[in-house]
Amino acid sequence: MNFLQQALDFIFTGSNWAGRAGLGARIVEHLQYTAVAVGVSALIAIPIGLLIGHTGRGSFLVVTTVNALRALPTLGVLLLGVLLWGLGLLPPTVALCLLGIPPLLAGTYAGIANVDPRITDAARSMGMTEQRVLTRVELPLAMPLILGGLRTATLQVVATATIAAYASLGGLGRYLIDGIKVRQFYLALVGALLVTVLALMIDGLLALAVWASVPGADRMRRRMPQPLLDDEVRVDTGAAARPASLTVEGW
């Protein structure tokens, strides 16, 4: 197989990186789609997760929303969006938010809901207002799980932003999809390799952020967290396990 050799040659040729359709520009486009989609997802999911986690009302809603959004096919929503609203940043952003919202919502909700009730009760008895309990006590304690959700969301969005190219947009998917279309498989491989490297790099950086966000002084002794999809799993299992454990702990 010399596809790999051809692909590596393509990547390590400087002239392929320059210009409006070069590798550099495609990577910037790819990161742009990712950043916009993750940003919008965070703006929607984090406030809702904070509210539901803090009040404890509507936790059923979180599990339902997470499962329903996950079941919606990203590609279908993207292509439907292009047919309805035309080309532009709106269709890929909406489609990629379907991937970004579930882990962020699940992570934020689980982070806040799992804070030990004795700690929030102590904060209230010291005279903190509800708003301060949320921002000064619950939010810092929930930060590792929220950032874990952000990490999962970003990872999935980076990986799937490739499909934007199918709707005549840019990003690294251009190489992958054009390469398949014109049967130049080494070009498809260029796209595949670069998306993989990009995903691994971003995931590494966010893993570091999750690790640094753990409150307390003993983080040097802690292992690096590896949440990925676990935070969503935690919501599914946690919803069943919580009532029993709360009763036991509360008394």
Partner: protein, 218 residues
């Protein structure tokens, strides 16, 4: 909606392909991950190694893996086998981490009781610890099954069959009703599979209901 009703036989054929591509990997992944996870469970070095490998595999974008796999295994590009192998890798990667975690969560008194009544180590693993780990495994299986169904749909941009072909066809022919039909069909099968796994897990663990009642009473 009308498109879906007018093309029910095509929809059924595509659904079968879609389910084959997304669920065979779930079964294969389960068959690999449960023994592997149980094997590395008690060995910290092997366990960390498996977890690390699994995390890296999980980070590779699926669309990219569909394209890269033919370089590693002797299949043609755009072959169905690539999809099954790639999704099996993801399923295994997710489950192989969940299995030891689920085993960790088995209550120590259940374990001590099993030892006291004279279970061997293997008997204890098969008859006590793995069954008690089923609820956590079910949760992971649901996530992975629904994700796989979505991933197979994305695969249609590189020519993989299944209900995703309605997206690419509908887009090229500018027929939004065909795309909507595809979205509805995939949404429905994802929900059906999700609920089926949930109920399967409940049926396999009849004791969870009585334990929840006991927990509430304590």
């Amino acid at each position: 909606m009308r498109y879906l009703l007018n093309h029910l036989d095509t929809a059924w054929a595509l659904t079968l392909i879609h389910l084959r591509l997304s669920l065979i990997p779930v079964l294969l992944g389960l068959l690999i991950a449960v023994p592997l996870g149980a094997l590395v469970w008690r060995n910290p070095t092997l366990r960390r190694l498996t977890t690390l490998t699994a995390s890296i595999i999980f980070t590779i974008p699926s669309l990219a893996l569909f394209v890269v796999l033919p370089l590693i295994i002797p299949t043609r590009i755009l072959d169905e086998t690539n999809v099954i192998v790639a999704l099996t890798l993801y399923t295994t990667a997710l489950l192989v981490r969940a299995v030891p975690e689920a085993l960790d969560a088995v209550p120590a008194d259940a374990r001590d009781a099993a030892t006291a009544v004279g279970y061997t180590r293997i008997g204890q693993l098969l008859k006590v610890e793995l069954p008690l780990a089923v609820p956590v495994l079910t949760a992971s299986l649901r996530v992975v099954a629904v994700t796989n169904i979505s991933m197979v749909a994305v695969g249609s941009v590189i020519g993989i069959g299944g209900l995703g072909t309605w997206f690419t066809e509908g887009y090229q022919a500018d027929k939004s009703d065909q795309i909507i039909a595809g979205i509805i069909a995939i949404f429905v099968i994802a929900i059906v599979i999700d609920v089926a796994i949930l109920l399967g897990g409940r049926l396999a663990t009849p004791w969870t209901r009585s334990r929840m009642r006991a927990g509430a009473a304590a």
